[in-house]
């Protein structure tokens, strides 16, 4: 044994095992200490009721009252030892009364939360959504506000100063999927079902202190669909609605928190102006309405990979020809004047290389990536412009048509 490292290894290998019976006996002693610490009152602090109260008929009545009170208290104490009365089904039931709420969704390591306002119709279906998505959620888009109402979605890209309007079913599903991820109602129903099927182990803490929330800890079974996941829900004692949800993931033998979602303002009326952007967006915002304008390139007989490369090729060809209307149509339908503003100072001279198309690194975009290198002239200097993540995908509300999306 030479180095300190050798000695450290020796320390690590040095172990002990414990006798299970003795281990249990010691734990019982520790538990008793815990129980006694809650109930023991030092003798010097105990009031001497009897010697003080039995001096007059009035105090005898008072003594009787004290005894009745004491019986009441003892019943309360006994109540504390009865099994938890709360069950998940109560929250599932309470959720049926919810017609609106606000949600803040925190991700571990990020200060700014996502924020959602959800309003439901009489059948409990999502009717209106407002979502604020911080920049960390999609750095290329920047922070954005999404409104979903009347079957149409509006997305305000704050950094790009653009307002996109879409109405296609696929986007609707994506938008509603986003809202459902944070909606506590289906989450509770899923948990309730999973508990019944034995897929999660649910532990309920109902503290005797009535000011504290009920805590529900759901641990997913290792062989289930979400091994290593644990969810802690805080439930309001009066309403039985969830006020917060913390998500943990088992890593290196420890549950590490990955997110926290808070639920506020249940059933408080949401100002209708929250579900329109007209009062908020700047006057010079670039409007792209894909519900009224044909966007992108028709796929025809081309494969997905081929049409993606073709869209990129036509886009740069249009820029070389300074045909900003054609280029804008291939970039989510951006108007020609805005395209000229964006690309006028950078003259695209030629395409050096393009393709082949491959899967987009963010699968949720359902798009492809077309790597491109073009030669450009800017401020009199000629240089190569290398684009590794030029994304191309189907237009949301126009089946069979493909467009460039995201940042260029």
């Amino acid at each position: 044994m030479k180095s300190a490292e050798d000695i450290k290894r020796y320390f690590q290998q040095a172990t002990l095992s414990t006798n299970p019976d003795r281990h249990e006996a010691i734990f019982e002693k520790i538990q008793r200490a815990q129980a006694e610490s809650k109930t023991t009152v030092p003798a010097s602090h105990r009031p001497h009721y009897r010697s003080n109260i039995m001096k007059s008929p009035i105090t005898k009545l008072a003594a009787a009252a004290v005894i009745i009170l004491a019986i009441g208290l003892s019943i309360n104490v006994l109540d504390k030892t009865t099994p938890a009365a709360y069950a998940l089904g109560q929250t599932v039931e309470a959720n049926h009364t919810v017609h609106s709420l606000r949600i803040t969704d925190f991700k571990s390591g990020e200060d700014e939360p996502k924020e959602f306002w959800l309003q439901f119709d009489e059948q409990g279906q999502i009717e209106s959504v407002r979502a604020y998505m911080p920049e960390w959620d999609s750095p290329s888009d920047g922070a954005k506000i999404v409104i979903w109402q009347d079957g149409k979605a509006q997305i305000w890209f704050k950094k790009k100063n653009g307002l996109l309007t879409v109405s296609e079913q696929q986007f609707a599903e994506q938008m509603l999927g986003l809202a459902r991820q944070v909606d506590p109602r289906p989450a509770m129903e899923r948990l309730y079902e999973q508990e019944k099927q034995g897929k999660v182990k649910v532990e309920i803490d109902e503290p005797s202190d009535s000011t504290q929330s009920i805590a529900v800890t759901a641990t997913y079974e290792p062989e289930g669909s979400r091994p290593g996941r644990r969810v802690v829900l805080l439930v309001d004692r009066a309403t039985k609605l969830v006020t917060a949800m913390e998500v943990f993931q088992l890593k290196d033998d420890e549950y590490q928190q990955v997110g926290r979602t808070e639920f506020h303002d249940y059933n408080q009326a949401i100002d209708p102006r929250l579900f329109t952007l007209e009062d908020e967006i700047p006057a010079d915002v670039m409007r792209v309405d894909q519900t009224t304008q044909e966007v992108g390139l028709a796929q025809g007989d081309l494969s997905d990979e081929e049409v993606a490369v073709e869209v990129a090729r036509r886009f740069f060809t249009a820029l070389i020809a300074e045909d900003y209307a054609a280029a804008g149509q291939l970039l989510e339908g951006i108007p020609a004047d805005k395209m000229q503003e964006m690309f006028g100072s950078t003259k695209v001279l030629r395409i050096i290389s393009i393709g082949p198309a491959g899967p987009h690194p963010i699968p949720e975009t359902k798009g492809l990536v077309v790597p491109c290198t073009v030669e450009v002239r800017k401020n009199g200097q000629i240089s190569e412009w290398k684009l590794d993540r030029l994304g191309v995908r189907q237009v949301y509300n126009q089946p069979g048509r493909w467009t460039i999306f995201g940042g260029i």
Binding site: M1, Y10, A14, S17, I30, Q31, A215, F248, E254, Y255
Partner: protein, 180 residues
């Protein structure tokens, strides 16, 4: 985060949380105490005391601190208190037999030491206590010399010296035991 959740539930009076904390940390604290005291009986008493006091502290225990650090510091403090009490007793009763560290097995014993831990226990008793503490906290608990200096209320250079001298002596003791 697991510990924070356990503390949170423990403070709310959940017995299962106390059970999990006990199961998770008892072995680690026993090992720490055995290496520090060299005596298994004393170590068992110390770790029991640490958990009993912890169990009684639910109302006072904060959520912000580290459970592991709290339990380790409690164990180290408990070992120091025992040493101080023992030395007072020895001064008061000079004819009392010196305390002899032992790990002799009893039927109701809580822990059984592995051969390596037995060697370490035996070798560490030959080191001055301060050196023993530095080496144990560094080797067993991966504490930095700065953290140990904070715990021992002394300078980092003193801790470094204790560590260096202690390691040299421990190496020689363990090598001689291995060779023997």
């Amino acid at each position: 985060m697991e510990d924070k959740l356990l503390i949170w539930r423990f403070k709310r009076g959940n017995r299962e949380a106390l059970r999990r904390i006990y199961d998770k940390y008892h072995g680690r604290l026993l090992k720490l105490a055995v290496v520090l005291t060299g005596d298994l009986d004393t170590s068992e008493d110390i770790v029991q005391d640490v958990f009993v006091r912890f169990a009684q502290s639910a109302n006072r225990f904060g959520l912000s601190g580290s459970l592991k650090s709290y339990l380790i510091t409690s164990t180290v403090n408990c070992v120091r208190n025992r040493r101080r009490d023992n030395s007072r007793r020895r001064v008061q009763s000079l004819d009392e037999a010196d305390h002899v560290p032992s790990s002799a097995g009893r039927p109701d014993q809580w822990a059984v030491l592995s051969e390596q831990l037995e060697h370490l226990r035996s070798a560490m008793t030959c080191l001055p206590y301060e050196q023993r503490e530095v080496i144990t906290l560094r080797m067993v608990e991966n504490m930095t010399l700065g953290q140990i200096a904070g715990l021992q209320k002394t300078s980092v250079s003193t801790v470094h010296g204790r560590y260096r001298y202690g390691i040299d002596k421990l190496r020689s003791l363990l090598n001689s035991e291995v060779e023997a």
